[in-house]
């Protein structure tokens, strides 16, 4: 069954297209956007608050450049874990403060790793220490840590662009 999506009308889409860009640094940043869309500032804010309540807007605010604000190193742990142990181990990984994301993903003959954990630290050693700790606690010894050695692209998703 498809996920139910509340109606997102044309005006909502126009708002999303604008608000996913940089919010202007002026006293009334939404006024210009409202004018551009052809609605009042009030309506725009009412709709934006509704999108927020519905969880469509995850948050409004700043996104930091992480290299400039601390935790500079991360590694993607990939783990070979039997089906029946994934739930328990996934939950255990989720308890680590150094781990921000834990997912289960499909496996293939050439990619047998089923659980993914994004591990953060100040160095490679920090990241490896966390992985070793998990390995010791769970008895899972088949894992690998993937590091990004080059950033080829990193952008924010722009929604409803195809309808512009």
């Amino acid at each position: 069954m498809p996920v139910e999506i509340d109606e997102i009308d044309k005006i909502d889409k126009a708002i999303i297209r604008e608000v996913q860009e940089d919010l202007s640094l002026e006293a009334r940043p939404y006024r210009k956007i409202a004018e551009k869309i052809g609605i009042t500032e009030d309506e725009l804010l009412t709709r934006l608050n509704r999108l927020d309540e519905e969880g469509k807007l995850r948050r409004m605010g700043v996104i930091l450049h992480h290299r400039e604000s601390g935790y500079s190193f991360n590694g993607m742990g990939a783990w070979i874990i039997p089906e029946e142990k994934r739930e328990e181990i996934g939950k255990l990984m989720a308890t680590y403060d150094e781990i921000s994301h834990v997912y289960e993903r499909p496996t293939y003959p050439d990619w047998p790793y089923s659980l993914f954990s994004m591990i953060h630290g100040r160095s490679k050693e920090d990241v490896e220490r966390v992985a070793k700790d998990i390995s010791k606690k769970t008895g899972i010894e088949e894992y690998t840590i993937l590091y990004s050695t080059e950033q080829l692209k990193k952008v924010s998703m722009k929604y409803f662009r195809e309808e512009e």
């Binding site: 996920v3 999506i5 997102i8 999303i16 608000v19 996913q20 860009e21 940089d22 640094l25 002026e26 006293a27 940043p29 006024r31 804010l45 934006l48 927020d52 969880g55 469509k56 807007l57 995850r58 948050r59 409004m60 605010g61 700043v62 996104i63 930091l64 450049h65 992480h66 400039e68 604000s69 601390g70 935790y71 993607m76 994934r86 939950k91 990984m93 921000s100 994301h101 834990v102 997912y103 289960e104 993903r105 499909p106 293939y108 050439d110 990619w111 953060h120 690998t144 993937l146 990004s148 050695t149 080829l152 692209k153 990193k154 924010s156 998703m157 929604y159 409803f160 662009r161 195809e162």
Partner: protein, 162 residues
Amino acid sequence: MKKELDQIDKELLNITQRNFPLIANPYEEIGSRLDISGEEVIERLKNLKETGYIRRLGGIFSSKKLGYVSTLVAAKVEEDKYYDVAEMINEYHGVTHNYRRNHKFNLWFTLIAPSEEELEKQFNEISDLTGIKTLRNLPATRFFKLGVNLNMKEDQSEKEVS
């Protein structure tokens, strides 16, 4: 570091990360919480952008709740065609993150599309690119943790992906 953050900058970054008010005059409201003027909030935010602390100030939307689908894709790419392939993949606007990684699967990207059909279409197009040896689709099947706020320590990435 290009600039030392003072206490007000730090509080400002915490507030603007988590509790940015959805009202007509957000900067003035934030200022009142910090005992500074709205103008000073604006000046400080401009500065934090220019010095590279802030990547973006705006709305972050949930791809899932907007009806979009996303996945993580792992690729084995021939080294002599690596950058041509990366460039062609990057042309898809639903490709938001793309990294070289230290593995036989040497290129990893996230792909977001407005529907399953569109995602499949783009995945198939990419798998046909010259230089791609193997492409593996790795959409999340279960979520155990979805990203946390490391309080001024982490880019709380928009990575809701996949």
